[in-house]
Amino acid sequence: MSLLSFLAAHRGEFLGLLVQHLFLVAISTGAAVLMGVPLGVLAARRPRAGAPIVWIVNAAQTIPSLAMFGFLLPLPLIGGLGARVAITVLIVYALLPIVRTTVAGIQSVDPTLVEAGTALGMTPRQLLRQVQLPLALPSIVAGIRVAAVIGVGTATIAAAVGAGGLGEYIFRGLAMVDPTVILAGAIPSALLALALDGALTLAERGVRSTLTRSGARPRWVIAALVTISIVAIAAAVLARAGSHQVVRVGSKNFTEQIILGEIVAQTIEARTRMTVERRLNLGGTFICDRAIRTGDIDVYVEYTGTAHTAIFRQPADTDPRRVFEAVRERYSSSALTLFDPLGFENTFAILVRGDEARSRGLKTIDDASKQSSRWQAGFGYEFIQRADGYPGLAKTYGLTFRAPPRAMDLSLIYRALADRQVDLIAGDATSGLIEAYDLAMLEDNRRYFPPYDAAAVARSAALLAHPDVRDAIASLSGRITVTDMRRMNHAVDAERRDAADVAREFLARLR
């Protein structure tokens, strides 16, 4: 699908994200102006007190944005998912250019003018308002311009914490390995940055010429900036007010998770009277876990093996029942409820071509190890390296190949198998490509891979308050087979269908 037809098909959503994006940038830049200019003035007038201010905003700028979201998520008031934390991060990034240009603007005012103002009898305050600030204004506006342009770029990261904006498309596109969707986010945000840069450059020139040519006082500029800032902040506060009887459903940022998020959300919508807020496409396991602990989401689907090793940092265990019980226990001590598994596992899958499996009667990895010495294997880079990847697998099953395994990109590996470039691969058990290319998954009969059963995790408090939500989520346990999941992934990834539609059709068949 071309970029233009994608945008045409998603016109409404696109405009919504664009407005969200602008909203994030406007509020954060506005707030940064209200905070940064006074800080800059302070720093310029009292260098001793001001040095630490400049030092702190400088240091804050060097923190990678994703890491900053991580720090801020668990904090009260400014933390949490959604626009609030995104705006906080954007303000931090906008402060540096604004504080810096305010300091520079004030310090670069001709000392003769400061002396003249003082000699004429201006108090320090009058000197600041009548001489230093007006003369520093072009420099300050230049700082606002830089801040806004940085903000447009940084705001794309905000999608990782569910704040929306054009970053939604970038993250969704990355998850779907679909360049068109990535570009649908990246190109408009780049254009937006250029447009803002152009508009504010004009404003800056306007201020400069107002200052130097006609001699009119730039009061209106200050008034306009302050008004815009205040309106933007008021709008943000209003937008946050009023949300109750809501269940927030989260998901990580790849196709399967988004489909599962939709399935959970639609099930709750169908079986309860609650309003469901979707916070899908959150930036990974870490962010989902933080979000559910802080109450920013009420439910999402996790994988038992991931929870066991990545969240609770336990040594890998290959017994599915034991892992499930251990994870459920640990969740319950954090006031979180782990539901019974949905019915499928998203684990590593050792795959061969379907025709080969049928003609040779290959069902398990043990079956394959008898033939493998004539084969060429293809694995992802990480799988080849990790001790719990290929080396352990080869040892457990006594696998030998014709040549060392070929390292390949995960997105190409299924096709390479279908095209007979390789004969055995390690893929993803729920990949839609397994059906599409008629591949066969060999059973891990010696249970080498840890279990990755998909199961919903929810906040126990939310379930206590709304037992019907508990029933709704529980109704999904054991209902999604690995074949169902593969088909749905395929429908979204390969057929480019909408995740919500695919989820709806699945649920219709389930009833």
Binding site: T112, A116, G117, T118, A119, L120, L135, G215, R217
Partner: protein, 254 residues
């Protein structure tokens, strides 16, 4: 004649340097005192001490009957006009608004202010209709200095301090402004303290001349008396003047 400004045994240091070393000086109402000296002789320091930009370490400075330390510094400065060599007109304000600064700080009503700005620009030879709305950047050096004088006179202060006011101008403009200065002074009758490194300018403008060397006043007298001084240091400062007039006389001989 009453004393407007008095220095009593003033010692003032800036950094490690003694700039004024026990200076005593009385400046009378309505006189134009021209202070002459080389760079670093302490001339500008005297001006800054009068309007409270600098505070002496010892001794006292009395301005219009009150010690500078007793004045509210902003009130003191608003009652003293100040003209700088670099002029220091505010580039973001029009010529008219530059002139109006001190009256605005004093809270004058706009109507009175507008009349005042017109009168002052007229006084310094820049008709308001043509110049009030202009930006200072659109003026020549001499015109800017005229605006600087108008700004200093705006709130009708009894005292006017001028720090090398004509130092950066070309000789023709300078001579023209000297003439203007004497005309304006005859109209407004202010107590003026003017600082210059140029003895010729001091002779041309001062009703009295003070000669400064190393933070000490070495001579204080009427121009004629200064010209006839026997002090070596004063004579050294007069030498360029004498040589210039000798050269002039020499050329007139056939």
């Amino acid at each position: 004649m009453s004393t407007e400004i008095a220095f009593r045994d003033v010692r003032l240091t800036r950094g490690a340097m003694d700039v004024l070393r026990g200076l005593s000086l009385a400046i009378d109402r309505g006189e134009t005192l021209a202070l002459v000296g080389r760079s670093g002789a302490g001339k500008s320091t005297i001006l800054k001490a009068i309007n409270g930009l600098l505070t002496p370490q010892a001794g006292e400075i009395v301005v219009r009957g009150r010690r500078t330390t007793e004045w509210d510094p902003f009130e003191l400065r608003r009652s003293i006009g100040y003209v700088l060599q670099e002029v220091g007109l505010f580039p973001h304000l029009t010529v008219g608004d530059n002139v109006a600064i001190v009256p605005r700080l004093l809270g004058w009503p706009e109507a009175r202010l507008a009349t005042r700005v017109r009168d002052l620009l007229q006084l310094v030879g820049l008709p308001a209709d043509e110049y009030a709305g202009r930006s200072p950047q659109a003026l020549s050096g001499g015109q800017r200095q005229r605006v600087g004088v108008a700004r200093a006179l705006a709130a009708d202060p009894p005292i006017l301090l001028m720090d090398e006011p004509f130092g950066a101008l070309d000789p023709v403009t300078r001579a023209e402004l000297h003439h203007e200065f004497r005309r304006i002074q005859s109209e407004v009758r202010k107590t003026i303290v003017l600082v210059t490194h140029d003895m010729a300018e001091a002779m041309a403008l001062g009703s009295r001349i003070g000669v400064l060397a190393d933070g000490v006043l070495i001579a204080l007298d009427a121009p004629k008396a200064i010209a006839e001084s026997g002090d070596d240091r004063v004579r050294a400062m007069l030498r360029p003047l004498v040589e210039a007039s000798a050269a002039l006389e020499g050329r007139q001989e056939p």
